[in-house]
């Protein structure tokens, strides 16, 4: 009762009076609350970013800190854009992003669509499906290396059991044409549940009355799927694609542990190239320039994509 009165009084009271406080002002408090986060991000994200921009114009090498640093202007950027290997790495990355997103969206949406039927025990099985995405990609990469081992690995054994191919010839990780797919398979296994969960939220957000109206109009199941289910779930699917796209563009852990970029450079994605240049060849300036190019690319693509997403949402 008293509470209610207080609430009513509060609602009726003009803002400035309600906000009159002893001691620190609201404005001061707002900055006191927000500034630690901003300062931390400036120190650990923005300052390093600017440092990387500075380094990208130099020939600095982190393993030779005493050498004189020369300003190279845009030479690093020019060399990267003309470097055949870098373009191959970008192509490999694009290849991974394309296939993982395609597979994860198709399988993820289908699973969500089936779960949405709310069969008996669906909550339990959904939770079980979600487990792989909660694991550490590094640990996952490592134990899939075990599953992929020819002869002793479970994966090779099952494939050979089903197909009749001798297990020694199922060299997922060392075969040039299979190695990229070995990573795509693990990534799909791990992240399909992620897409599924977001799609499921999309399907659950469609109000039932729309289907009821469609039933009255005698729309076929296909028609309902194409003109209600899919368009209404589309913003959610696009959101899942955005998050997976950004993550897979940055993909490092899994590739590093499964193949380390090999055999040859068949699975060398951008992050692996970056690691090799920065922490193995110690070409700090050069790799910083590559890092900046990658960041701008992710940022630019994400921004264009978000604009498209907003358009779909507003429809």
């Amino acid at each position: 009762m008293l509470n209610r009165t207080a609430e009513n009084v509060a609602r009726a009271t003009p803002e400035p009076l309600a906000r009159k406080v002893r001691g620190i002002s609201d404005k001061g408090l707002a900055w006191l609350f927000i500034s630690p986060t901003i300062l931390l991000l400036l120190a650990i994200n923005i300052f390093p970013l600017f440092w990387a921009i500075y380094l990208s114009f130099t020939n600095y090498r982190a393993n030779r800190p005493n050498e004189v640093v020369k300003n190279l202007g845009f030479a690093n950027y020019q060399r990267i854009l003309g470097d055949q290997d870098i373009w191959i790495a970008m192509q490999t990355t694009a290849h991974f992003v394309f296939w993982t997103i395609l597979l994860q969206t198709l399988i993820g949406f289908t699973l969500a669509w089936l779960i949405d039927r709310k069969f008996r025990g669906h909550a339990f099985w959904t939770t079980l499906i979600l487990v792989p995405m909660m694991l550490s990609p590094a640990v996952v990469g490592n134990f899939w290396r075990f599953l992929y081992e020819p002869q002793i690995g479970l994966f090779s054994y099952v494939i050979s059991f089903v197909s009749g191919i001798p297990p020694t010839s199922i060299q997922m990780l060392s075969n040039v044409s299979m190695a990229p797919w070995s990573i795509i398979i693990v990534d799909t296994w791990m992240w399909t549940p992620y897409v599924m969960l977001i799609c499921l939220a999309g399907l659950r957000s469609i109000p039932e009355y729309i289907y009821e109206a469609a039933e009255v109009d005698r729309a076929s199941n296909w028609r309902q799927f194409w003109s209600i289910t899919l368009p209404m779930a589309l913003p959610f699917i696009m959101l899942a694609v955005l998050f997976r796209g950004i993550e897979n563009f940055k993909m490092f852990d899994m590739v590093n542990l499964l193949t380390g970029g090999g055999p040859g450079s068949t699975t060398e994605v951008a992050s692996i190239t970056l690691k090799r240049q920065a922490f193995e060849s110690w070409r700090t300036g050069y790799s910083s320039a590559f890092a900046i190019i990658l960041f701008v690319a992710v940022f630019g693509l994400a921004n264009i994509y978000v604009k498209a997403l907003n358009k779909v949402k507003q429809r």
């Binding site: 509470n3 207080a6 609430e7 509060a10 309600a18 408090l29 707002a30 900055w31 609350f33 927000i34 630690p36 986060t37 931390l40 991000l41 650990i44 300052f47 390093p48 970013l49 440092w51 990387a52 089936l114 008996r120 669906h122 099985w125 959904t126 939770t127 979600l130 487990v131 694991l135 550490s136 990609p137 590094a138 640990v139 990469g141 490592n142 899939w144 075990f146 599953l147 479970l154 054994y157 297990p167 296994w189 549940p193 992620y194 969960l197 977001i198 289907y211 039933e215 005698r218 199941n221 289910t229 950004i246 490092f252 852990d253 970056l274 920065a278 910083s288 890092a291 990658l294 960041f295």
Partner: protein
């Protein structure tokens, strides 16, 4: 035509439900097999783990766990016999392979590092995140949208890209390979998620509660402490678990910025080797121990999962 026809999506028929259920159950079971296999491998002996065809039925052994926690040296049978009775399970298991325990392995310290760094950074990220989220939710902050987007955009950077300057910065500051350095770094990575998620949770708490408290004579800070925080507990707990899972699972920064004393479990587990290659039962044992907390959290979190993985962009 009735509103609920046999094949409508509004009320799926019993048959279509059954088919959907069968497909989902099949998918769930197949997708869980790799994990069950790792769990089973952790209880195999090294020879059983690399047997062909892979052994589904086997005599369980704790050798993998013994190998995970200890380092061993090979000795002659005569020497081992001269040592007297074995001092425990592991001693006995190891002796069967003509080895004696030389000392503890690095697994426990690495696991403890994971605990310290994950919990430390989670605490800091949630603390800073709660304050900022409250700030953004309740006050008119100039350029609030830009600041929020800036906070989110720090997640677009490939970790390797930031790792180069952070590596240099930490070398200058003496933070390389320290738990403090990793806590600061993971806090910075997680705070973006914490702010976005918590802002969503705090936005849902009616402002009237605080205003009523302030009418009663509380200051803004007291009102925050007594009315908002208790209401936001569930949201704070969910956010904390998401931050914890990220910090627990992180590999790229840990692999590049730590090598010894502050190394966490994810870069360590793949390096466990035995005689003649990777000691798969020990690796599987380490993986199993490492995964258990995550499995528990997944079950606890399933209701909030969607918010957490989409930065609160989607609500269930």
């Amino acid at each position: 035509m009735s509103l609920t026809t046999a094949h409508s999506v509004v009320a799926p028929s019993a048959n279509s439900k059954r088919i959907a259920g069968a497909i989902i159950i099949a998918y769930a079971l197949i997708s869980i097999v790799p994990l069950l296999w790792i769990f089973a491998t952790s209880f195999k002996t090294p020879p059983d783990s690399i047997a062909y065809p892979p052994k589904i039925v086997f005599q369980p052994s704790i050798e993998g766990y013994c190998n995970l926690f200890t380092t061993r040296t090979r000795q002659t049978p005569e020497y081992i016999n001269s040592l007297g009775p074995a001092t425990g399970f592991c001693d006995e298991t190891v002796r069967k392979r003509n080895m004696v325990i030389a000392g503890p392995s690095n697994f426990l310290p690495r696991f403890v590092n994971s605990l310290i760094i994950a919990f430390g950074s989670t605490f800091c990220a949630v603390f800073l995140g709660t304050l900022s989220a409250y700030g953004f939710s309740r006050f008119k902050v100039p350029l609030a949208d830009d600041l929020l987007f800036f906070i989110l955009s720090t997640r677009f950077m490939p970790p390797i890209a930031v790792a180069i300057p952070i590596y240099l910065m930490y070398r200058e500051l003496g933070l390389s390979d320290t738990a403090l350095g990793m806590i600061l770094l993971y806090t910075a990575v997680n705070v973006s998620l914490a702010v976005w998620l918590l802002k969503g949770f705090i936005d849902e708490i009616p402002r009237e509660y605080e205003e009523a408290a302030m009418i009663d004579g509380y200051t803004r800070l007291q009102a925050f402490w007594r009315t908002v925080l208790p209401q936001a507990t569930t949201g704070i707990a969910a956010t904390a678990i998401f931050c914890l899972i990220f910090a627990w699972n992180e590999y790229a920064f840990a692999a590049l910025l730590t090598s010894g004393s502050a190394q966490t479990a994810p870069p360590f587990i793949p390096t466990i080797i035995g005689e003649g290659g990777q000691d798969w039962p020990a690796v599987a044992a380490g993986t199993t121990i490492f995964l258990v907390p995550i499995l528990v959290f997944t079950i606890l979190l399933r209701k909030q999962l969607l918010r957490g993985i989409t930065f609160g962009a989607v609500r269930k």
